[in-house]
Structure formats: structure tokens, C-alpha cells
Amino acid sequence: MQRLFDTAVVLFGVVTLVFFLSAVIPGDPVDVMLGEHASSADREALRSAMGLDRPLLVRWGDYLAGLVRGDLGSSLVRSRPVADLIAERLPATLSMALAAFVVILLIAFPLGLLAAQFKDGPLDRAAAVFALLGQSIPNFWLGPLLVLLFSIQLGWLPVSGNESPAAILLPALTLGTSLAAVSMRMLRASLLEVLSQDYLRTARAKGVSRFRAILWHAFPNALLPVVTLLGLQLGALLSGAVITEVVFAWPGIGSLLIDAIRQRDYPLIQGVVLVIAVAYVLINLLTDLLLRRLDPRIAAEEGERV
């Protein structure tokens, strides 16, 4: 219950922060949007359309009230509800994020297990180098490099867009690789920590091979911190999608956000940012609830504390 209350408070804070972003626009937002030479009638029309003629706190109240009804305002440029625009683009982003999540799982789990199995061996060291590179190479450079290699040199995959099913591979790899590097290191560290515990020494003493011990005895217990991290990453995929979608001209909410920024469509910018942040908070909440299911010790500890 406490967790749900905390989440509600954070969500309220997020909404407030996103709303007050509009207060940092330097100068008059109407001037910024219409340019210096607009007629004063146009200015007044836009001002009242955006509600800028009313005090900030009143607008904040309206914004909150609108959100409760599922109303994110309407786009200034496309004169359609922001919620509809986002809903149209959401499936593309979700499919890319899911594909990237699969990439994370496919890279992080085998590599993490192998790195722990062959600790300090050449494979472990190679995995460490991969992790370091993955963390240091930004998405917006990895993407073009992958295009250069797979689409241009080898000609295996399309350069951009999402017409063919294979087109999702490069964006997913771009988005997933750096996050996979972090999960892999986490899984390795967590496995090694569990491996040093007494029950695993017992298992090894009874003749269980190191590989079997890792897979059957250590893995389930090492999974808990990894699940937390994967939850955080699932949310991070949504924000990482912004840059990746721009690189690959992927028609999701990320490129919608960048288009909105270019057109100074402030309500649309706020809507997309809000949707991503709220999704991130909710995914973290679900991860926490899942962890309680997986590990009864968490709930028990909290019970003791109260």
C-alpha cells in the first residue's frame, strides 16, 4: 500500500514538473510560435486557444483535471487531440522496445552466465571489454555504424523505415546493445556473489559441476537484482527510443516528439514526455510487485520493520 501511495505522489510530481516546463519558455511563447511579424489579432487568438490569458495556477488545475479525464490537450499544429496522436504512434515504439528487450535478454543472459562460468578467463575478459564499449558508444553513433556494416557493406538489411519485418533488427540492436552490456555485468556480479555462499559450496562439495551449480542453484537466486535492472531498462528503452527512432526514421512517439519540438508544438511535447515518464514509473512499480512475488523475503522484511 505504501508503495502505491509513493507512486501516486511521484506521478503527481511528474505531472506538475511537465506542466511547469511551459513556464520556462523564454519570452512570450506566442511570439516564439508565430514569429515577430504576426498580427495582434492572431496573437490574441492563439493566446486564448492555449489558455495563456489565464493565470498559471488556474491552467495547472485545468491540466490536472484534463489528465484525469484522459485529455492531454490538443496539438497546436495538427489541431487534433494529443492523446490520439500518441496512440497512433505508440505501437511502433512498443514493438521496437520489445524487440530491443529481446536483444537484451539474448545477449545478457548467455554472456553473463558464460562470464561467470569462466571467471577471469579470456571469455570473461572479452565480455568485460564488450560491456565497456557498449556503455561508451552512444546510440546515435552505433546506429549509423550498424547501417554502414549491415545495410551498405553487406546489403543484408534495409537502411531505415519499417516497411519490412527485417527493418526492426537494426533499431533493436542499436537500442538493446548498450543496455545489454549493463545487464550482463550485473548478472555476472550477482552470480559470483551467490556462488560464494555456503549452500553452493555444499552443492559443489557433493560433486555438482560448476556449470550445473551456476545454472540450477545460483541462477534463480542471482536473478533478483537482474529483474530490478531489467525493469529499469524496459523503461529506459522508451526514452532511448527517441534517439534511435530519429536515426532510423522509425515512426514512433520518439520521432513524434522531435517533430513536435521542431514545430514548437508545446502541448504535444508535454504529452509525449508525460507518457514516457509515467510509463517508466508504472513499469518500475510493476517490477517491484513482481519482485515481491519472486522473493517473499522482501515483504517479510518490510513487515518486521513496521
Binding site: 506538475t16 514538473l17 516546463l21 523564454p26 558508444i137 552512444p138 529499469l232 522508451l238 508545446y266 511535447i269
Partner: protein
Amino acid sequence: MRLSLLILILWVVAAIAGTALPLRPDEIHLERLFAPPAPDDAWLGRDELGRSLAARLLDGAGVSLLVAAVTVLISAVVGTAIGALAGYLGGWWDRVISRLIEVFLAFPGLLLAIALAAFLGPGIDNVIIALSVMGWVGYARLARNQVLSLRQREHVLAAVALGRRAPDVIRLHLLPLMLAPLLVEASYGVASAVIAEAGLSFLGLGVQPPQASWGTMIREGVRYLLVAPHLVVVPGVALSLVVLAANLFGDGLRDRLDVTSRNRQ
């Protein structure tokens, strides 16, 4: 650690050289556009307007260094002050500030910086503001946890008993003990500020043309990926090397200063 330090020093030297040398990163040579790297002409090649990539790279080094240094400085000072006060004062102060930290952490990755840059408009100063608003949280969380674990130490209790005021206790008796983890955090902070600046510039939200930034260079180069891949490769290598070096330097610093074992006590 040594290699990473060398790369970081090279980065600083490149940034200084970019401003000190009489380079002309904006000079256009349309007759030599897309020229590949050549030792006798521009040794890293030329871009879509025939501008020297080497000169633009040095120019961009200055931008990334300026943004990273100022951002880390502002975030570290503001974040540490807020976090340390929250941990020290406790009670309602701590609860409110902790909530605030949670709200800022609810924006994953670059999202908050992108949103702020969108509303503030482009430009180096706005990039620094956006990244600092995003960056203070990490230091605040760290400083708060450190103060919570240090405030019961005897020398701190003695200082309080002698009637020292909160800012003095934090500055004189707590800060010196928190410096090691804060330094480690700051060197990772340099890595993320460099990536973030380049990311915002790549999205067109940061440094504006004709000023060169590694992010804008990649952004412009991507359009000519088929014709002239070196336009993307050159700034990307520089960017990744600096980020890699800052990350490695943070790792080395962490091991040397023994930060984790101290936290465990």
C-alpha cells in the same frame, strides 16, 4: 587508468588548441567536398561543404569540454548541497527533498534534458541548464546517503555539541569524508555529460550550426553515410574515446580510493 588519463588530457589539449590555433573550422572549400583523409590536405578529410574535419573536431572538443566541465561543476555543487542538507536536517526537509529526487529520477535517460531543451530553445547555455537540472539528482542522492551514514560519527557529534551551525558542520566535518565518492561520481558525470551534449546536438536541440559539436557533426554526416562514411566515423571515434576514458577513469578512481569498501562500513 594511465591510458584513460592520457586520452582525457588529449581532449583538454584539443579543446585548448581549438580556440588557440588559427584554425578555420567554418572555411568552405566546395571544390574539395567529401575529400577523404589525406596527409597533405585536411588529414581527417573534408565534409559536405569542404570544411576540414580536423578543425571541426577540435572546435567540437572545446564545446564538449566546456559543457561537461560547467555541467558537472554546477550539478555537483548544487546536488551535494541539497542532498547533504536533506540528510543532515532530516525530518520534513528530508522527506520533501527525497520526494523531489524521486520525481526527477522518474524521467529516464535524456528525457528531462530533451524536454527542457525543447522549451528553453537551442544553444550552449541552454544545454548546460538542461543537463544541470537533470544532473544534480545523482549527487544529491549520493550526498544524502553519505551524510546519513556519517552523521553519527563522534567528531560530527562533537562539532554539533560545540554549537557549530549546519552549513559549517557539513562543510568542515562531513564534506572531506564524502569527497572520494563524489569525485568518482563526478568522473562518471563527465562521461554522461559528454554523451548527453552530443545527443542533444544530434537531435538538433543543442549547439547550433555553424558552431561544430561532435553531435552535430554526426547528425550532418549521417545524411552522407553512403558517399562519405568518414564524416560519421571521425567524430564518433573521438566521442566514444572520451566517454570510454572518462568511464575507465571513474573505475580506476573508485578502485584506488576504495569507495565501495568504505561505503560498506
